[in-house]
Structure formats: structure tokens, C-alpha cells
């Protein structure tokens, strides 16, 4: 009996908290790496929100007399090839990276989970067709696909997000379908049917909440992936267009001046890495918090 505990129950089981979301957050915060990740993410979000307040200069303000300047008291991270303050550009760049990361991961998740739910719950032909479509998507390397889509859709922030979602949903669909196949066989689903709950309600009210845990982990890690891909797309010249600042764009331009101003490419690279690592840490922490079998192991390591 007890070994049948479903991941979803695990959240609720953690110390006497009535609110599963709060209990989950607490469990993640106790995870050492995840708490580091949470702090980094919180900082990045504050930076993105308060960029206009925090940035010493406008990200577009050029100072052609101080091009590629080394770090100084005026420009803490130096300036770029047009004399713009690098720190300010990175602070503003956080907005683009976080926006693309979070929105595209969420959009992919929503589309993917709904499709996966339907595939897993309906089964049969519907399932077979949807899964063959996702298989087809798996044949493409993600970066190439997203690059091609971005190129086809044209540059711009929305199009990067759209391109990402067009690919990302397949991953979430497969994940959700697998989880649905597990959950729909559990007795409480049969019990719900036995009291006359209609199929759609069973899908969204009874199954969906029980598959949220792994989806949450995937969304978090997906955000890191999306930030990386956005940087890659921007690095290759698609994505956001100048003069908008984005980490990938800065890295691209800085790359050209690697020898003259190494910080110009290192600093955005560090930002990208930090963000991705932070989201992955939190994703791992979530996974551990949601997996009752791993929880004991964590306790020992602390």
C-alpha cells in the first residue's frame, strides 16, 4: 500500500502544512543547490523588473569617445563597441532572456500538456497520431528547428517565443502522456467515473493535478534551455534586433572584440550560465522535493 504513494501525494506529505504549494517551496528551499538557484533567480527577476532603476545609464546611450573601455568607476563592466555601458545593457538584457525563457517554456507546457492529456486519456488512434507527430519533431535537432522557424517567421521577440513553443510542446506532450498513462489506471480515477464525473472533467480536474509535479520540474529546466536557445539564436543574428540588448546578442558582438575587451563577451556569458545553472538547480531541487524516494537521501547528505 504505502509503496504506491504517487508523486503528487509526496508534496502533501511533507511537514504538517495545509498548503501543498507552500510545503513544496519550503522543501525546495531546504535543498542546498536549489536554494542557491532560487536566490539567483530572484536576483535576476529583480534586475529585470528594476532595470531602469538599477542601470547607471540608458542601454542605448552611446559614448563614441569611450569605445570598448575597460572597467572603470564610471563603467563598472566597461563599454561595448559603440561606447554603451555594458552593465546597463546586461541588466536590460535580463528582461529579454527571462521573458523568452519563462514565456516560451510556459506556452510550450500549456500546449504540450493539453495535447498529452488528450493523447494519454483517449488512447487508440488519437494517441497514435499525436505521438507519431511528436516523433517526427524529435528527428530535428532543436536548435536547427528553432533557427529555421525564427528565420521563416522573421526576427523579433514574439517569433523566437513562437518558434520555441512550436518545438517545445512535443516534449511536454510526451511527458504528460506518460504520466497520464500511469495516473488514469489508479483506482481513484475509476472511483471518479463511478460517481458519474464526465470525461473532460476527469481529465482536467482529476488527472491534471496529479501530473503537475513532473511538469513543474520540466518547465523549470525548460526555462534554462529556452534562455540558452534564445542566446544561441541571438548569437547567430536572429531573435531580438539591435539596438535591443540581450545576453546572446552581447556575447555575439563581444566575441568579435575578444582580445581587445575580453569582459565584453565574458560578462554576458557568465549571465547566461548563471541563469541556466540557477534554473537547473531549482529544477533538480523540485524533482527531489517531489520524489519521496530521494527525500531521505537528501536528509543524510545535509
Amino acid at each position: 500500500m504505502t509503496d504506491l504513494v504517487h508523486p503528487a501525494t509526496a508534496v502533501a506529505v511533507s511537514p504538517a502544512s495545509r498548503n501543498p504549494a507552500l510545503a513544496l517551496l519550503r522543501a525546495v528551499a531546504r535543498h542546498r543547490l536549489a536554494s542557491v538557484g532560487l536566490v539567483i533567480i530572484a536576483t535576476l527577476i529583480i534586475i529585470a523588473v528594476f532595470a531602469p532603476v538599477l542601470a547607471p545609464y540608458s542601454p542605448f546611450q552611446q559614448d563614441l569617445y569611450h569605445v570598448l573601455a575597460p572597467p572603470s568607476r564610471l563603467h563598472l563592466l566597461g563599454t561595448d563597441n559603440l561606447g554603451r555601458d555594458l552593465l546597463s545593457r546586461l541588466l536590460y538584457g535580463a528582461r529579454v532572456s527571462l521573458l523568452v525563457g519563462i514565456v516560451s517554456s510556459l506556452v510550450s507546457a500549456v500546449i504540450g500538456v493539453v495535447i498529452g492529456l488528450i493523447a494519454g486519456f483517449r488512447g487508440g488512434m488519437v494517441d497514435a497520431i499525436i505521438m507519431r507527430i511528436t516523433d517526427a519533431f524529435l528527428c530535428f535537432p532543436p536548435l536547427i528547428f528553432i533557427l529555421a522557424m525564427s528565420a521563416a517567421l522573421g526576427p523579433g521577440l514574439q517569433n523566437v517565443i513562437l518558434a520555441f513553443a512550436l518545438f517545445g510542446w512535443t516534449y511536454f506532450a510526451r511527458l504528460a502522456r506518460g504520466q497520464v498513462l500511469l495516473v488514469r489506471e489508479l483506482p481513484f480515477i475509476e472511483a471518479a467515473r463511478s460517481v458519474g464525473v464526465p470525461a473532460t472533467r476527469i481529465m482536467f480536474r482529476h488527472i491534471l493535478p496529479n501530473i503537475v509535479a513532473p511538469v513543474l520540474v520540466a518547465i523549470t529546466i525548460g526555462i534554462g534551455g529556452a534562455i540558452l536557445v534564445e542566446s544561441g539564436v541571438s548569437f547567430l543574428g536572429l531573435g531580438v534586433q539591435p539596438p535591443t540588448a540581450s545576453w546572446g546578442k552581447e556575447l555575439r558582438v563581444g566575441f568579435t572584440y575578444l582580445e581587445a575587451a575580453p569582459l565584453f563577451s565574458i560578462a554576458p556569458g557568465v549571465m547566461i550560465s548563471l541563469a541556466i545553472i540557477a534554473f537547473n538547480f531549482v529544477g533538480d531541487g523540485l524533482r527531489d522535493a517531489l520524489d519521496p524516494r530521494l527525500r531521505g537521501a537528501n536528509r543524510v547528505s545535509r
Binding site: M1, P187, G196
Partner: protein, 329 residues
């Protein structure tokens, strides 16, 4: 075959349920017919795999399809035939007119919702109750099954309930819409022996209060003796004997029933009486013996048993038995 008694609340005719497996088709329920009268407690008894749970699920069309399939039969409930009814009609009956209590109280509740939310779901669906009237009704239901501090308990999650409490909550939920029939599929198997009796008493009292009929599925003959009005004994997907509970105990007529009764200790017989197991194993459902499925294990089997399937034949006192041999001889 018995003629449909006019007052039967539920009458099942030739119900056949099949499951497709890799090895072939299993006929889990084979042309089962029985009636359930309003307000009575009918027990469906048999060992694991004899088709009693499949019968119960089929009554509400809950057989998972695939791999299962209701291949044949009719289920008349009041003026409706359920197997040909549309989904909306069946949904409207489920949990409302015919309620079900499952074997596993630990897993029959959704772990992410509070007890209150789940208890209220049939009332929302079928009685359109919302807000305060829903809350009041849920409180009354929990109180009626003796759950202390019902107001606080409505906010609890299933993992905070013990197995016995969950099953009591399931009983409360099954009663919520004043059903005509409650189907209880081994409701106490997963529980401690000490609270099994408590729960069955509660279930008996509840169905009596709500004037509901109870289809009690069990493998426990002790339970049958104490609570059931009538008994259907199933073996390998068929009903082999049907009689009042008293008759079954005093004058069992099918060799399988006799074997079952000899294999459990009885308070009304001297302790020195030996318990006699039924020889052999339950048949492989993929490869049922010819004729009467019980003949390989039957001490009284004659040649006819190997060749022809005996029909359930009605005798005096509503006692029906499917056997070629008259054990009284």
C-alpha cells in the same frame, strides 16, 4: 432461467464480459443472470478471479475498454436498459441512483483534493448543490458515518485519514445522493479485522436508512452469513448456486459451495471438525475445463459434468443450482 420478478429493481440477464489478453480472450463473466430486489442485501461470493468484481463493474459500465468488453447481456434498472443507454444516461445513474464502494480506500481517493471536495462531487454533479447547502450536506454525511470533528475533517487530505476513516467517508459518499443500489466491492478486504465488522455494521445501517439495496461482493463467507439476505455463488465466471443466506448455510447444493463451507471454521460446529480445503487450483480462465468448470476439482463429478455445462436450475424456496448431480442423493 428464472423469470424476471416484476418487482426486481435491477435485473441482469446473460451478462457476458470479456477481456482481451496477449494469450487470447478471457471470458471473465459468462452469461450471468440475477435479480436484485429493492432494499435487499445480495452477496456475490467467490474466490479471486471468479468474475465477481467484473460483474460489479459491468453493472455501471465501468469495464475498461480496451482490454475489456461487455460482449452480451441486458441490465434492466427500473425502466431503463443500461447496456444500450447513452453515456449521459449512464453517467446520470452512476453515483446518483447506483453508487459504488471500492476495495481500496487508500487509493480510491484523489490525493490532491480535500475530503470535502471529493465528498461533495456527486452532490455537485447530480443534485446541483453549491456553497452553504453543499457544505451543510457534507457535514451531515460525515456525521452520519461517525467521523468526529466533521468540519475540520472536510479540510483534510486523504493521506491524513486512516483506512477505516476513508472507507467510512466512501460509504458516506455512496449514500450522498440517496441511491437505490449500492455496490460494495470487497469493501473491507483492505482493512484490519477489528474494524471490518464495524464498517459492515455501518454499511448495513446506512443502506437500511436510505432504503437502498446492497450488492455485496466478497470472498468472506462469514460476512455473507451475517449480513446478506440472499447469496449468489460464482465460479469461473458463472453463478453456480443462488439461494437465501440461510439456505446456503443449511442446505448447500452445489459441490463448490459445500467445499467452500467446509474450508472455513464455523462457530456452530465442534472445533474437532476438520477444515477441508478444496482440492486443486481455480481453472485457468484461458483454458476452462469442458462442461462444468468445476468438474476437475469436484469429488462428485460424473461423465455428464465433463461434457455439458449445467444450467442454473430453480428448485423449491427460490434455491437455484447449476449442477448435474443432486447432492442430496
Amino acid at each position: 432461467m428464472a423469470k424476471t420478478a416484476p418487482e426486481a429493481l435491477l435485473s441482469v440477464r446473460d451478462l457476458t464480459v470479456e477481456f482481451a489478453t496477449d494469450a487470447g480472450i478471457i471470458t471473465a463473466v459468462d452469461a450471468v443472470s440475477f435479480d436484485l430486489q429493492a432494499g435487499e442485501i445480495l452477496a456475490l461470493v467467490g474466490e479471486s478471479g471468479c468474475g465477481k468484481s467484473a460483474t460489479a463493474l459491468a453493472l455501471l459500465r465501468l469495464i475498461a475498454d480496451p482490454p475489456g468488453r461487455i460482449a452480451n447481456g441486458e441490465i434492466h434498472f427500473r425502466d431503463r436498459e443500461l447496456l444500450s443507454a447513452d453515456d449521459a444516461t449512464v453517467r446520470d445513474i452512476r453515483g446518483n441512483r447506483i453508487a459504488m464502494i471500492f476495495q481500496e480506500p487508500m487509493t480510491s481517493l484523489n490525493p490532491v483534493y480535500t475530503i470535502g471536495r471529493q465528498l461533495g462531487e456527486p452532490l455537485q454533479l447530480h443534485k446541483n448543490l453549491r456553497g452553504d447547502s453543499l457544505l451543510a450536506k457534507c457535514l451531515a454525511l460525515l456525521e452520519s458515518v461517525n467521523i468526529p470533528e466533521p468540519r475540520r475533517r472536510l479540510q483534510s487530505y486523504p493521506h491524513q485519514f486512516s483506512g477505516g476513516m476513508r472507507q467510512r467517508m466512501m460509504i458516506a459518499m455512496s449514500m450522498s445522493c440517496d441511491p437505490d443500489i449500492v455496490i460494495a466491492d470487497e469493501p473491507t478486504t483492505a482493512l484490519d479485522v477489528t474494524i471490518q465488522a464495524q464498517l459492515l455494521e455501518l454499511l448495513q445501517a446506512q443502506v437500511a436508512n436510505h432504503r437502498a439495496a446492497l450488492l455485496l461482493i466478497t470472498h468472506n463467507l462469514g460476512v455473507v452469513a451475517r449480513y446478506a439476505d440472499r447469496v449468489n455463488v460464482m465460479y469461473a465466471g458463472r453463478i453456480v448456486e443462488s439461494a437465501s443466506a440461510d439456505e446456503i448455510y443449511r442446505t448447500p447444493r452445489h459441490p463448490y459451495t459445500i467445499g467452500l463451507l467446509r474450508s472455513v471454521p464455523r462457530l456452530d460446529q465442534p472445533i474437532s471438525e476438520k477444515l477441508l480445503p478444496i482440492e486443486g487450483q481455480p481453472p485457468n480462465p484461458l483454458d476452462l475445463p469442458s462442461g462444468c468448470a468445476f468438474h476437475p476439482r469436484c469429488p462428485l463429478a460424473i461423465d455428464k459434468c465433463r461434457a455439458e455445462v449445467p444450467a442454473l436450475t430453480r428448485h423449491a424456496n427460490g434455491h437455484a443450482v447449476a449442477c448435474w448431480v443432486d447432492v442430496r442423493d
